[in-house]
């Protein structure tokens, strides 16, 4: 089984993730989840989300991945029973109390062990397997030899991050946020202090920021050594990021399946992914220890862009006209690209823009304004328009 697993911070992101090719999503509930400041899902919303996922024959996992303090423990068992009742496909768990509670109370939930538990060896993996864990989200520090050995020893489903932001710390082994900002990193309040700049006794400031993870060039090998689920980080990210990243990995995984992934494809998708995140990325630990090249040192290499120009709301096949919701400024004369899961990405020069009243305008400059563009090729709801940066 090969699965592309996407983050979904809310229902809109969940729909985008599935539309762009995710096989499963992971979401947080309103409690017990490591993204306390994301929108997250109420139990009622979770029920709707599960139903939506299952209609598409896709899966939904719920994060219950905080490290519990005494004050957080009330109500957990009831919550887990509720999750079982609405038939979530698994819970992603970090604290061993939750693992044992599900095992000993026989709560009918599949347990996936969070990367926060930092499993990096087969013995630790066997420990968790013996307590009913079905899948391990391995530590981001896992080298390919570790992954291979863990798979051979345990036979468990293995889930690995393939894309997104990295903790500088071994996951779960950091409380810098607690110390510097009083926000509890292991209960969902992480302030990302590893992206701060520290002063030091040397001329240049001290920084520990990691570049992002990007496993484009290692996907095939990951499949060979037994990785089952390819996970994208970013429950706080927007829909453009989710659409772009998920579509890129969907296309690459499909091409690997068909033995048609080329180096040129990998280069193209790496460019797309780096531009989309505004950050550089690297494979990090898979082939060995990251060096200074996998880090940022002055913290200012991130360049913001406004690539996401609009999202398709509808397409009139007879009039060959697309209805678009604007997300960033564009104007007549711009060359853009349309992309989506059921089409080949294509370039398009804007000759005409009409506003909601079908009056011709020169610029689309109001956030979320509705505009119409004449486009010959058919488009679908949720397809997107972006700045053209790379040829494809």
């Amino acid at each position: 089984m090969i699965e592309l697993l996407a983050p979904a911070g809310d229902m809109e992101k969940l729909k985008i993730a599935f539309h762009y090719g995710a096989d499963a999503v992971y979401v947080g509930g309103e409690k017990y989840s490591l993204r306390a400041n994301a929108k997250n899902f109420s139990l009622e919303e979770l029920k709707d989300a599960v139903s939506y996922a299952h209609q598409l024959k896709k899966k939904l996992y719920v994060t219950v991945n905080i490290i519990f303090h005494e004050e957080d423990t009330a109500g957990l068992e009831e919550y887990l029973n509720s999750l079982a009742l609405i038939k979530v496909d698994a819970v992603i768990v970090s604290d061993f109390w939750v693992v044992l509670l599900i095992e000993q109370k026989k709560i009918p939930l599949e347990v996936h062990l969070s990367t926060q538990a930092s499993v990096l060896n087969d013995a630790a993996a066997m420990f968790y397997k013996s307590h009913g864990v079905k899948r391990l989200v391995l530590a981001r520090e896992a080298k390919k030899e570790d992954i291979k050995k863990i798979k051979e020893t345990t036979g468990l489903d293995l889930e690995c991050f393939v894309h997104g932001a990295m903790c500088t710390s071994i996951s779960g082994r950091c409380v810098l946020s607690n110390v510097v900002t009083k926000r509890d990193a292991n209960r969902g309040g992480c302030a990302q202090v590893c992206r701060f700049i520290f002063s030091s006794d040397e001329e240049m400031p001290f920084s520990i920021t990691s570049k992002d993870l990007n496993m484009v060039s290692n996907l095939e090998e990951m499949i060979k050594i037994g990785v089952n689920s390819f996970k994208v980080e970013g429950r706080m990210r927007g829909i453009y990021y989710i659409a772009t990243v998920i579509l890129a990995y969907r296309r690459m995984l499909d091409k690997i399946k068909n033995h048609s992934l080329t180096e040129e494809d990998e280069k193209y998708y790496t460019n797309i992914l780096n531009r989309c995140a505004n950050r550089e990325s690297a494979p990090q630990f898979f082939n060995g220890l990251p060096t200074e090249k996998e880090q940022y040192f002055l913290g200012r290499e991130e360049v913001s862009n406004q690539d996401f120009l609009g999202i398709v709301l509808d397409y009139d096949a007879k009039a060959k006209k697309v209805k678009l919701e604007q997300r960033n400024y564009f104007k007549v004369g711009d060359t853009v690209q349309f992309f989506g899961p059921n089409m080949e990405t294509f370039s398009y020069q804007i000759h005409t823009i009409e506003n909601e009243n079908l009056e011709k305008i020169e610029v689309a400059n109001h956030p979320n304004m509705i505009v119409y563009l004449p486009v010959d090729r058919p488009l679908e709801m949720f397809d997107m328009m972006r700045v053209k940066s790379f040829d494809k």
Partner: protein, 263 residues
Amino acid sequence: MKNKFLIIPGNNKLEKVSDSNFLFPLEGYATNLGQTFSLDKLPNQSYIYINRILNTEDIACLRVLLSENKEKIKGIVFEDLGVLQIIIEENLPVEKILYLTHGMCSSKTANAFLQMVDTVILSNDITYEEIKEILKHVSKKIGLCIYAHLPYMYSRRTLLTNYAKNFAYDKKMVKKVKEPISKKEFLVTEDAYGTYFYDLLVYDGRRLLNEDVSYFILDLHMDIVDSMALWVAKFLKGEPIPNSTSGFLEEKTIVKLPPKGGV
């Protein structure tokens, strides 16, 4: 009171102090704890400390080492649950002491692990009130760290090496850094297994000494102590410790940000 204290030694003579045992960072398996000790050079029935997250190669070597040196070990303090699995699978007759640096913050978690280990050490990122509450509800005696430069971050990356390489500086294995907004200062140390951020101030948890626990951990690995016995005597007598902190004992952390526009 026997074996009440487990002391991680620093650059000091290994002088036995009553009611205490040394907790020896194990060579090859401990990280950023200063001096490490080879198992074959330790006396029989020692307590050893394995604070690394271990990879598959490490765990295979450790399995052999522990199995062949059973008589050397009285207890193992460990962070990686792979160590517990080895102890179980190899049926090693050792005391199992789990020290999840930041992951043991509730009585529920402690009690879950206490079904499998002899004792656990509570994390240091919790308040005194939380500690008292946890102690009321645990199924066995548990341990507390009461003296240490508290570790706040553990990275597998070699962050000091990378910094020095990037700016073409001479490499330092210890560096003092400061977060400018909070003014919080850290000691960053590195070895072959990664990088630690420690509090520059030393944690003084002596107010916890009256609690009924399995062990008190004293981490002296950054200290130079002439006489261990004298140091412990002064410590227990309450002699002031310069540049100390109470850590999180009075510092409750928050999880959710207040809504914009004020609380």
